[in-house]
Amino acid sequence: MSVPTQVVEDVVIKFAGDSGDGMQLTGTQFTNNTALIGNDLSTFPDYPAEIRAPLGTVAGVSGFQVHFSSQRVYTPGDSCDVLVAMNAAALKVNIKTTKKGGIIILNLDGFDSKNLRLAGYADGVNPLNDDSLQGFEVYKIDVTKLTREALTDISGLGVKEKDRAKNMFVLGFIYWLYNRDLQTTIAFLEDKFGKKPDIFNSNVLALKAGYNYGDTIEAFTTRYKVEKAKLPSGKYRSITGNTAVAYGLLAASEQSGLPLFLGTYPITPATDILHDLSKFKNFGVKTFQAEDEIAGITSAIGASYGGSLGITTTSGPGMALKGEAMGLAVILEIPLVIINIQRGGPSTGLPTKTEQSDLFQAYYGRNGECPMPIVSASTPSDCFDAVFEAVRIAVQHMTPVIFLSDGYIANGAEPWKFPQTKDLKKIEVSFKKELAEGETKLRPYKRDEKGVRPWIVPGTAGLEHRIGGLEKEDETGNVSYDSENHQIMVKNREAKVNNIADYIPLQTLDSGPEQGDVLVLGWGSTYGAIKSAVAELQGKGKSVAHAHLRYVRPFPKNLGEMMKNYKQVLIPEINNGQLIKIIKAEYLVNAKGYNKIKGTPISRAELVGAIEELF
């Protein structure tokens, strides 16, 4: 029997289940497969902070949303066309973001009385039997039973182990539904489980069983296909934000000739950068899992002092701990990149949820007058270019730089037209090796025309000198408590950071008219939502433009002028209004905010509403 295939343009699928159900792996596999057929895509993994949250409960639901299309994609999608729910809790959590008329695929076994009770359904209520799923195309599949049947010939595994292949059955079925090839996932399984034949075989059998199930049951009357997207021509791969950060750092290390040293302490959602960089030993990368956040940054300061590219990675609570050491790097005036993959706060807050609430911390979160440049990334692949820039600024301006990403783009994936090494810019760095002509005595804090002091590393004969956290005398760097001198040094350090504005590009518009009614100004991970919301309104003839900041401190020199060209400025942020306060203070602009602090990205639809209200 052959089922007809319908070509569709744009699909959002959400895989949802218990945090032990393997939904992240299922989603990642589907994403890789989607990338390889050339769709544009964006993903949103969303999981609990606990490794194995209470089974069957709403709190334990782990989800992976993937949006793929033959058109350009900028967000993981506000709501899904297809929901795969492995249990009652997964359905309960996600039904409100499933489109009416959408497909819901349910694992029957996850809707027994125990699961219904754990999910918090009232006694006797079962969404499978009442009318709550009316208006959806619902398919109930006994995944557990079918998976077990498919694996009857595997004698080396118990029932519990066999049940772990359930997610592969579901993946196989979705592959069938979207006309996919199983080979990428089989190759992945071989790589992962090749040495454990029973586990490998059970996963492959379940995957194929799921695929064949689609072929044999007659419930589905249509299969779907999404054509290749019309992306700019070139070679692509799929990349997550954290991997892009790791690659960007490595590229910056190669392009600057500085050996890479990462001093860090594991923290969600930044740890994957350590995982990635620790694999790159054959690039000479040194990764140091320190005893705490403070040792993470201070070891990186030690490495930078020695002439390496010192990096530390963390998230909000770790940033708080690193504050004093950042101040040291500021007063020493040595390069360092501090990477903050933001999450919900304060304190431990929402470790696995996204937020942009550390901007104030980055701007102001240290003692004393302590300015530091801030660079932010707007999409997963943009992390590569943005962190490369953060390194360039750090080593060319002798300053610690804060790089801001967040959990949403750190874990999210998108296609990336990756660069060739030959197309990457060189990062020019020079160490001072000797006294210049006419220079009789070393002045380690004597500045060049950019206001930058020389980088002098231990081992350089004749230039021995001492640096430290005490205020230093202008130029000589000797300890000084002189009041006039302190003011000069505070101003020098500030000017050095402000001067960076001369060495970064002017702000450009992402889209829209150069003058008009509304400018939507964003930074960081709100890029996709703003871009698609603005595009929708432009399509309706609204005079609305979008500018997105990469350089948050100092701001591009033309930003103030740019904002004057619009009647209104809207600043959407996943926080309680931080950039907006800085912008208002700096430019006295009467900007309006759109703020969401729910641990989730801003959706396109809600942003469209917020912008429309301005008209």
Binding site: K228, A303, T421, E464, H465, R466
Partner: protein, 345 residues
């Protein structure tokens, strides 16, 4: 396997390691002697000035790098050990000296200290122990004796003090020694030994703070009591002390006891010091009695323990070499491309 730079340096003297900075410790501070001994031994270790880095934290002792004509960093409170770890990992060939105090290394920076020791970076940690917070003008420190009356403990401190040598041994330090500011010769010997050891060398130096804790170690350092109260350890030699060299320590099973020589015991019956013996070292570091109590052991000075274990930075370099030999030198283009790509026309 030695990673420290061995350059042919011109013959230097102690003066070459001093600079024009005015030394600003209080007159009479024990730090002066320690600075002098360090400047005295550095010309002997054959390392060029530019390859020596002194890293310090915060506290009186931590001003040390400013007075040295080498590379140096006066950093933040408690973190010198962590900064030195990163520096040494990045630049194994440098000779790195950490100067720290009892507050810096054992209180605010206690965590980094134990981790530095277990990782065994090849650095020298000089812990100036004066049993008081000097720079903040006199509060009890983590090595102050119990019941210490200070500005922050007018009714006496409640804290039980750290035994730094025992702490270091507990952290699996590979070199543990103790010396004092008032015995320049011994201090020089210990500095040279610390430098010669490949691995983290933990050298506790009793240092008198004549302003806020004067005489804390007098009983060990003054001529009148030193011979009775200080026990100088020498490799392969019996543990003998006393003004007349007539007292010794023997091991009765696992229990150390003081015996009088000539009264039924002679030198052959005594505990022979073996700094390679980890189990004896466990007992030795515990000879830490209050010297003012009625019955007590003398306080040992010298090398308690030394063993060899790969240093962190050597292991790190070796791992990189092995990994590179196995996988081949990394290729950025291959990495950026990854395993799965597709073309858009």
């Amino acid at each position: 396997m030695t990673a420290t730079a061995e350059m042919t340096a011109p013959v230097l003297t102690a003066k070459d390691f001093a600079n024009e900075q005015e030394v600003r410790w209080c007159p009479g501070c024990g730090d002066y002697s320690i600075l002098k001994q360090v400047q005295t031994i550095l010309p002997q270790i054959g390392i060029a000035r530019e390859n020596i880095v002194v890293v310090s934290g915060i506290g009186c002792s931590s001003r040390f790098p400013y007075y040295m004509n080498t590379y140096g960093m006066h950093s933040i409170h408690g973190r010198a050990t962590a900064i030195a770890s990163g520096l040494k990992a990045a630049r194994p060939e440098l000779s790195v000296w950490i100067v720290s105090g009892d507050g810096d290394s054992l209180s605010i920076g206690g965590n980094h200290t134990i981790h530095l020791l277990r990782r065994n970076f090849n650095v020298n940690l000089l812990l100036f122990n004066n049993q008081i917070y000097g720079l903040t003008k006199g509060q009890y420190s983590p090595t102050s004796e119990e019941n210490k009356v200070t500005k922050s403990s007018p009714a006496g401190s409640l804290d039980h003090p750290f035994n730094p040598a025992a702490l270091a041994l507990g952290a699996d330090a590979t070199f543990i020694a103790r010396s004092m500011d008032r015995d320049p010769k011994h201090l020089q010997q210990m500095l040279l030994r610390a430098n010669a050891h490949h691995g983290a060398s933990f050298l506790e130096i009793y240092q008198n703070c004549n302003i806020f804790n004067d005489g804390a170690f007098e009983i060990f350092t003054e001529k009148s009591s030193k011979a009775e109260e200080a026990l100088f350890l020498e490799q392969g030699q019996p543990l003998i002390f006393g003004a007349n060299k007539d007292k010794g320590i023997r091991l009765n099973g696992h229990k150390p006891e003081i015996v009088k020589l000539g009264e039924g015991f002679n030198a052959d019956d005594l505990w022979i010091h073996d700094e390679k013996d980890f189990f004896k070292a466990q007992i030795l570091v515990r000879l830490f009695d209050n010297p003012h109590s009625a019955e007590h052991f003398p306080r040992p000075f010298g090398v308690f323990f030394e063993t060899q274990r790969a240093s962190y930075e050597d292991a790190m370099a070796m791992q990189i070499d092995e990994f590179t030999a196995k996988k081949g030198k990394g290729n950025l283009d291959k990495l950026l491309q990854g395993n799965e790509t597709w073309e858009i026309d």
